[in-house]
Structure formats: structure tokens, C-alpha cells
């Protein structure tokens, strides 16, 4: 490959293949959107609803969400670059916010629908931000 035309063709092909591979790793954005949506159900259950039925409902919804997302992730054929670090950071931030939301929601702001709504959105925010950034990266 000595000519500049050959080089341009090769570069064009490489760009197409890289783009296609990157687009296929976009599943992680959908994963995070679903995780974020789950917070809008899970957090109000954890903050507003108390007792055995609440624990049962929370356990059921949480198990369904985690199982569904895990199965979805396991079926994927491509893993984005830096997946482990990015996922660790996003889930770490979400976990810290979730613990704070549930703690305050059951103490200082017990039975407050306004706090429950704000907490649900706050818990969804790191996941939604990650999903949005991921969509931009893989498009």
C-alpha cells in the first residue's frame, strides 16, 4: 500500500468499522436508562411505604430489575472501552445517593411525598447522566 488513494480507502474502511463497533456498544446506555427508570419506582417504595408488604414489594421490584439488567448485559457481544471503571464509578455514586435518600427518607423526611419524588429523581440522576454521556459517545 504505497499510494495515497489506497491509504484513503483504508482509512475510510477503518473509520466505518470503528464506528459500527462503537455503535454496538451503545447497549450500555439503554442499560443505564432502565436502571434510572427503576429508581422512580424503587425509591418511593423504600421511602413512603413501610412494613412487611413494602419490604416484599421492594425485594420483588429490585430483584426483577437487577436480574433483567444482568441478563441483558450478559447477552451483549461487545463491551465498551473502560466499561469496568465507568460502571464502577456510576454505580458507586448511585449507591451513595441511594443510601442517603433512604436514610433521610426514613428519618428526617419520613412520609414526605415531596422528598420521595426529589429523592427518586436524585437517585436516577447519576444513572441518567451516565446514559446520556454513553449515548453521545456511541452515536
Amino acid at each position: 500500500m504505497h499510494g495515497f488513494t489506497d491509504a484513503e480507502v483504508a482509512l475510510g474502511r477503518v473509520a466505518d468499522v470503528e464506528k459500527a463497533a462503537r455503535a454496538r456498544s451503545g447497549w450500555y446506555a439503554r442499560y443505564l436508562w432502565a436502571f434510572a427508570a427503576g429508581q422512580l419506582v424503587l425509591v418511593p417504595i423504600a421511602v413512603l411505604w413501610h412494613g412487611f408488604a413494602s419490604a416484599l414489594a421492594f425485594g420483588f421490584v429490585n430483584t426483577a430489575l437487577v436480574t433483567g439488567l444482568s441478563l441483558y448485559a450478559a447477552r451483549q457481544r461487545v463491551v465498551r472501552r473502560g466499561f469496568g471503571v465507568k460502571h464502577g464509578v456510576i454505580v458507586g455514586i448511585w449507591a451513595a445517593v441511594f443510601v442517603l435518600a433512604v436514610t433521610f427518607g426514613n428519618t428526617a423526611f419520613a412520609n414526605s411525598p415531596a422528598f420521595a419524588a426529589a429523592a427518586a429523581l436524585t437517585c436516577a440522576l447519576p444513572l441518567a447522566t451516565g446514559a446520556w454521556l454513553e449515548m453521545r459517545r456511541s452515536s
Binding site: 504505497h2 447477552r75 457481544r77
Partner: protein, 107 residues
């Protein structure tokens, strides 16, 4: 890797920086497919590059022998899965190859 002048010195033309192993279009496409991801399943790369299992297997073996591609075999449930990824060396060689191609294309 590159050609040498009669005096035994490598020329300054950017083609001397090309990796001969990546001059084959299929091998370059395989490396390009892996360059933008952490790892990809064998079947995904096969479909993306549009080659048969045996062709991809042969090209991956050559790249693995050069130390540029790593092959990991595993299972998801009962399904066997083969994952391909670029090594750090493979990524560096690919970047140098692309830089040389850009220099050639720029004339």
C-alpha cells in the same frame, strides 16, 4: 518492519512506518473493530468484517501470534463464547499504522 535503503538505513517515507501484518484488509478491519471496544465476541467481529469463521480464525491466529490480539474463551450459561481484544502492543501498533496511513494520504 519497513524497507531499508541500500545504505542499510530506513527511508523517511511514511510507508516505512506501516505494519506489514496490517496491510491485509481483513486483518486491519479486525483490529479496527477491536480498537474502539474493550472486547468483542468472535461472532460479532465475524459479522462486522463479513468473513467466515475459518477466515477470521486464521487472521486472529496471526494477530495473536504477533501478540496484538488476545483470545479468551468462556461460557455464558451453556453457550461457549470466544472474546477477542486488542493488547496494549496491538493498540500501539494500530495507532502507528493509522498515523502512517494519514501521512501517506496527506501526500
Amino acid at each position: 518492519m519497513g524497507e531499508e535503503s541500500p545504505a542499510g538505513q530506513r527511508g523517511s517515507h511514511p510507508r516505512h512506518a506501516l505494519a506489514p501484518l496490517l496491510n491485509a484488509p481483513v486483518r486491519l478491519s479486525v483490529v479496527a473493530a477491536l480498537a474502539s471496544v474493550e472486547k468483542a465476541e468472535f461472532g460479532f467481529v465475524r459479522d462486522l468484517v463479513e468473513v467466515t469463521d475459518s477466515v477470521l480464525s486464521k487472521q486472529v491466529s496471526a494477530l495473536e501470534e504477533a501478540g496484538w490480539v488476545a483470545v479468551d474463551k468462556g461460557r455464558v450459561g451453556r453457550r461457549p463464547r470466544t472474546w477477542l481484544s486488542l493488547t496494549a502492543e496491538g493498540r500501539a501498533v494500530y495507532q502507528r499504522h493509522l498515523a502512517a496511513l494519514r501521512a501517506i494520504a496527506a501526500g
